[in-house]
Amino acid sequence: MIRMFVTLTATASILAACGQGGQSGRDLSGADTNYQSVLLEQLIDAQPGDVITIPAGVYQFDRSLMLTVDGVTIRGEGMDETVLNFQNQIAGAEGLLVTANDFTLENLAIEDTIGDAVKVNGGRNIVIRGVRVEWTGGYATENGAYGLYPVQTENVLIEDSVAIGASDAGIYVGQSRNITVRNNRAEYNVAGIEVENSVGADVYGNTATNNTGGILVFNMPNLPQRGHRTRVYDNDVFANNTENFGHAGTPVASVPAGSGIVINSNDEVEIFNNRISDNNTANIIISSLHSTGYSDYAVQPDFDPYPETIWIHSNTFSGGGSSPDGLDLTALKVVLFGLNGSLPDVLFDGYVDADKLVDGALPAALRICVDDEVDVLNADGPNGFENPRVETENYRCTLDSLPAATLDFLD
């Protein structure tokens, strides 16, 4: 997949201005321009326990908002009723930046920010509920990177929300602990939902469609926290076939269009009870940082790039794999499965930690187990993709179920 990566990088560069951009997006002719200063003052004067309510209406902002006080709720009257639009934003890397504990954001929309829509940097007990983040001109490389973006947070709930058009991830939880992402819809993002370097995440009841990749569970090197233990279940992950319109160099730029669920360098991931279909590269991809930009020089020595303890079971699969992204994957498909064939539902790049092998095999607890009636393709990455092969039987095994994330913090 190194070659795949290179191919994709070139593609991404060529398509650097791709997308549906140019569509005009939300019409702001009747939008309220005076409310900005009211809300800025409220955010400055906020005290713990305050609820800042924003009435229905379309409000225009030319600069970003920031909240630094613990225990504040910002509440609108609905994700289609209370709209904060940043089309005319002049300054600020986010729409709303929060650095506080016990924060709740609910029932409003944040649209067309230059950069990230909502970033929560640090903090415990973060709830984002019924929030729509959207780039209303359609998906485009120039759109902001992240929609809903808690990072280095503990106890996070994102529910009943919608993310559309992010040039990186629609919903992105990074370097966090105890996370629930449920009942959201992510559409036309490069990554629909991404959990990165996080510990203890439940991702369920979501719909991810029309993204480049539907749901991603990643680990990146050189960060303060390494991630593990993610459950992805009861989601609808279908037709994530939108071209990769992300920026080259970002971790998601290596995701082929047509990816359903992608695990990269992460451990302890359980994927079950999902309905996964029509993702044209593969419904599930399991890969290592080796395939996506590994540099021996720069990766911390103790970084473990190998995806281990992966359990895939009880999912429903249909379609997919019929039109993989990139020349290498297309060639692979044609050679192994014919012009009208499809890649198997599960694609594994084949990197295994040689130091952990016992008698040529990984210990049972570290294995990749696929207990669904689908095939697994080992792309043979370690040998330069010389001998890609279907070896489903090597992955027929089961693992222990993972513990759930908790929502004890909610009251």
Binding site: N121, A145, Q152, H247, G249, T250, S295
Partner: protein
């Protein structure tokens, strides 16, 4: 009636004749005073803005870049109190300390146009601003209260006689002559909450703190009117700084613009004052894994061959934060050379490209050995 009028007249005379000369620095324990003058830190006398009696002007070895703005910085410590020297950190200031930073530009040759430099020979006296020659934009106060530091910003009025509290920030269209180039940009005055974007350098405590008054930034000379003297020595001699060793024993950053020192020292000094308040192991940008403190070893933490994490469009389609020998493949340089809100670094505090610093960092990366394999 008559008595009142006489009294009013006398009062007015007093204010006119002596008002400016009787400015006394004050510590205000709580609240957000509506006028900058209430703090008594700066005074306007004979068309000149200067520190009030007992208020010490200072400068930094290398300053933060803010759209080529000039800055008059002052510290005042209440009578009988002292700051305590800390080697690698901001001086430990006592309650009551007031720090001010006034952003201003020399006036350009055309009306409505400001300049990045003074015409002719430049600044005569750094702590005395001739209001005929400069335009004051904003003054930011950092005050050390019982509860910690508070940040309170003031915007100067059109006739440059007073600055009023402005908590929600402002976007100020500006025309600037820089080195013969005409720059048109929006000068962004941050809102109060955004002070924490830079001035909450520990993302765990999130406490507001000064950035500049660390020994390595203060350890240089300043002319208070009777010849250059080391700033830390000066404070110690005034009895305002305890436990100060000698300047030679204190750390000192390079002047990023001093061609006489090594490229590495200049680049690291620039990255320190402009970036390390966020890009440190406890800073809000530790999410990136990129640390730009002066003692960060040359390796992935300093960005060498380090993958970007959540840079989005900030990557500029480049592979690593720094590619040794390849400035044009280095994300760090791309982000310094941008003014796009979702690309540029620092994220706030500038709307122009610091061309000279971009050149410095370009040269620094270009002379690095090695490759990313």
């Amino acid at each position: 009636m008559t008595v009142c009028r006489v009294f009013a007249t006398v009062l007015a005379l007093l204010v006119t004749a002596c008002g400016a000369e009787t400015v006394t620095p004050r510590y205000i324990e709580s609240g957000n005073p509506a006028q900058l003058s209430q703090w008594g830190q700066l005074q306007i006398r004979g068309g000149v803005l200067e520190p009030a009696e007992g208020v010490i002007a200072y400068d930094l070895t290398s300053p933060l870049f803010t759209d080529y703005a000039h800055k008059l910085r002052t510290i005042w410590i209440p009578e009988g109190r002292q700051a305590v020297y800390r080697d690698g950190d901001v001086l430990d200031f006592p309650v009551g300390t007031v720090i001010t930073k006034t952003f201003y530009y020399p006036r350009g040759e055309e009306a409505g146009v400001l300049s990045s430099t003074y015409p002719g020979d430049g600044e005569a006296q750094p702590a005395r601003l001739d209001l005929g020659q400069v335009e004051l934009i904003e003054t930011r106060i950092l005050v050390r209260r019982e509860t910690g530091w508070d940040a309170i910003p003031y915007r100067w009025d059109a006739n440059q006689s007073e600055a009023a509290l402005n908590r929600i920030g402002d976007i100020i269209p500006m025309q600037l002559d820089h080195d013969g180039q005409q720059l048109a940009f929006n000068y962004i005055m941050p809102n109060v909450n955004q002070c924490a974007s830079c001035h909450a350098p520990d993302s765990n405590t999130r406490e507001i703190a000064p950035i500049g008054p660390k020994p390595r930034h203060l350890n240089r000379d300043f002319d208070h009117g009777s010849g250059p003297v080391n700033q830390l020595t000066h404070m110690a001699e005034l009895g305002l700084l305890m436990n100060f060793p000698l300047p030679e024993a204190a750390p000192r950053n390079a002047d990023w613009n001093d061609q006489a020192v090594t490229l590495d020292a200049r680049a690291r000094a620039y990255l320190d004052i402009n970036c390390s308040h966020c890009h440190s192991p406890v800073g809000p940008a530790d999410t990136s894994g990129l640390f730009l403190e002066p003692d960060t070893p040359a390796g992935p933490q300093l960005g060498l061959c380090k993958l970007p994490i959540a840079a989005g469009g900030g990557t500029g389609d480049r592979p690593y934060d720094i590619v040794p020998g390849e400035p044009d493949l280095s994300i760090l340089l791309y982000r310094m050379a941008s003014v796009e809100a979702d690309v540029m670094m620092p994220e706030i505090g500038r709307s122009t490209i610091h061309t000279e610093a971009v050149e410095l960092i370009r040269d620094w990366i270009a002379q690095m050995d090695g490759s990313c394999g």
